[in-house]
Symmetry: C2
Subunit: 433 residues, 2 copies
């Protein structure tokens, strides 16, 4: 008979700690599930992180995991799945009434990989409508009057509020980084394509990237290593030694971040410098300012295509804002779209040169603390260029702003330098802790 | 009351002709549907092109099209939809018993765009298992003892056999070009991403491309213009004047095409030259031979990810060949995959330079006529490099081989030069007719 570790509430544990406690038979999967479900029962009315939750199913799956001798690298770790990602045993509504009660015929590839590694799916987390702008019901755990960010709103809130140690997000503009920053957790958008997208509702085919959220860098590393099949991402404690970091406080073409954001990113820079990092200002190449508009063009054009069925046959069930933005996207001249993609390719090559001597770039994750109100999820401008360039990005908490809301420090590395980015993130996390 | 054109069997008409006859009220959509259904009833027992067909539903939809005053650019044109592509009103089984009776929650974006343009969905055409190698039931209309090619087997056979004037295909290696060539029709794989993929089952995320089939270049141009939202593709009759065409008879790293194939491609080259084209041998850059292996690596690695759910949770329902090939893909070192993609990028840049002075490349579509037997669908080797490089490709009939089976001439152009490729194809089609 397994015995429970009653000293610590399992919902406070990270993924790695939970996994290790379960492996050491100090904790059952059922106990971990009970703890998360209890936390959800307590907090969900205020936070609204979940689109679908079936506690009976969770406990049955937990019991099955406790009964099996197969032990994957996520054995017993509860996860939240953004409701943009298909699950065969739970409704998947993509944040839209068009798909009310929709049951996919399969798990998304990433969900299948997580389950095969032993993860316990708690439920589906709230997404904005099709991962675009129209928000769901979720509130920010730090202040329920403020947005948790979007589009991975429920995942960020659930992880921040200790309802789950891990959750899936997706990012097309800033939908992993921004909500993670607003909720004070770690969000990791790997290089484009590193985690398989099959079974994830498309918004913009050349941009959509599956990402992950947790409360620490080693946990996003563990999860993303499993999902990408890249064990080199999962080197707990392997922080970079004396990295060279480019600092990028503002972006041409974007509004300036708030004073509090600038202060916290500058403070983070000083702390990593004190720990041995070399800092340099990032020299943005000419044309960088065009990336923000290019991202908007590519995203709007591709969204109008990807959501053609919904736009053409279920228009009345779209939010007015999405309907209008899909119309705008459908009206974009293909030549303008092609030019935006060519621009991204050309400018991306010069950005790669500018980043060549750097281990990572340190930048704000968002313009400010999470804004007041649940009617909008904030501005992704500080993510648009990096997402357009397909680069791996990670945010970690840099401190609290004037309203005691979290502010995120974003790290960006070169394409497919995901392992290096995680090593830098461990270094920065240690410096800031 | 509309009157019918009784002179010509509508199933013999191309898409444009049908559309024009319907627009001129010389033909009803119902009559066009009846003609295709009659042809299917006659030939389907021998050919097996269809995975799902509901004549009652087709006739009801045809009646609705006849009753509406809205006239899209495909008004009343019957189409076949590869059963890899989701349809909300017909089962979508992806060629796999795992999805027997599966009903998607939405139309794929490309299907929605076709329907919104007035196309009449006849039914779902047979695909190989998940668009990989394991064949479906379809036979080649030119000789039912021979394969129609794959993976878009049913679409190619249906169009060739006058069951439908247009059909959807998808290509990850050679799945549009090869079956179209084997069945003696025109197949067009546009530049990667030109037709939206939302709602198409993923096989290899960085390769999968939606394409189209018809019996003439102007018809694939019409269909792809609608689906891509690029009206410049649809310039009927706009053939290139005096193009420069690079000839590429063999590929390094591939078996040599059959003598008949070489003879027909050379004859095609002489005929386009006689019509004013300038011919040049294509100078393949160093490293080109690595593209075939690189394609195999990328495809196998990504398929193991994209089909993770099926591989991990429905293994017993996979064909043994697919199960083994997914295992192989899952065992590929990510560093090898990354290297293959880097190789493709680097070699692709030199191929672009080699093609810079050319309007298109002329090459075999496949090694030979369609092989005997329905147990395999042929070798895609003559498509792998171009698909890996994301380039637009088109095949059109070059003549018959020693067994009176069609042989295709493949044309390839630079990335996003789709309109130019179609203009060249019209030129070649005229030269060969």
């Amino acid at each position: 008979m397994k015995t429970m570790n009653s000293r610590i509430d399992p919902s406070r544990m990270g993924a790695r700690e939970l996994r290790d406690e379960i492996a050491a038979e100090r904790l059952t999967v059922a106990a971990a599930a009970h703890a998360c479900l209890a936390r959800i029962a307590e907090r969900e009315p205020a936070i609204g992180a979940w689109a679908h939750l079936d506690p009976g199913k969770v406990l049955a799956a937990a019991g099955a995991l406790d009964a099996t001798t197969r032990r994957g690298p996520l054995h017993g770790v509860p996860i939240g799945v953004k409701d943009l990602i298909d699950t065969v045993d739970l409704p998947t509504e993509y944040g839209s009434p068009i798909y009310r009660g929709h049951r996919p015929g399969a798990d998304a590839a990433a969900v299948a990989l997580a389950r095969a590694a032993g993860a316990l799916v708690l439920g589906k987390t709230v997404t904005t409508e099709f991962a675009a702008s129209h928000p769901g019901k979720t509130a920010n755990p730090y202040d329920p009057a403020r947005t948790p960010g979007g589009s991975s709103s429920g995942s960020a809130a659930a992880v921040a509020d200790h309802m789950a140690p891990l959750a899936f997000g997706t990012q097309t503009a800033g939908s992993v980084i921004r909500p993670a920053a607003f909720c004070g957790i770690v969000g990791f958008k790997p290089s484009f394509g590193a985690i398989p997208r099959a079974g994830t509702k498309l918004l913009a085919d050349s941009l959509d990237t599956v990402g992950v959220m947790a409360r620490g860098v080693d946990d996003v590393a563990l999860f993303s290593a499993v999902l990408s099949g890249r064990p080199e991402l999962n080197r707990p404690g392997a922080a970079a030694a004396a990295p060279t970091i480019g600092v990028c406080l503002t972006l041409p073409g974007a509004a300036s971040p708030s004073d509090a954001t600038l202060r916290l990113i500058e403070a983070a820079a000083r702390r990593v410098e004190a720990r041995g990092a070399t800092l340099r200002p990032l020299q943005l190449p000419a044309g960088f300012e065009r990336l923000i508009e290019a991202h908007k063009t590519v995203m709007a054009y591709e969204a109008a295509s990807a959501l053609a069925y919904e736009r053409l046959f279920h228009r009345a069930a779209l939010s007015p804002a999405l309907a209008a933005s899909l119309d705008d996207g459908a009206a974009i001249d293909p030549a303008r779209y092609d030019a935006a993609r060519e621009d991204a390719k050309r400018i991306g090559a010069t950005v790669a040169i500018a980043m060549a001597g750097l281990d990572a770039v340190l930048a704000p994750a968002a313009l400010d603390e999470a804004p007041l109100g649940l009617g909008a999820t904030g501005d992704p401008v500080f993510c648009r260029p990096w997402t357009l360039l397909l680069l791996p990005c990670l945010t970690l908490p840099a401190g609290l702003g004037p309203h005691d809301m979290p502010i995120g420090a974003q790290l960006v590395a070169g394409l497919r330098c995901d392992a290096r980015l995680l090593a830098i993130a461990r270094f920065v996390e240690a410096a800031l802790s």
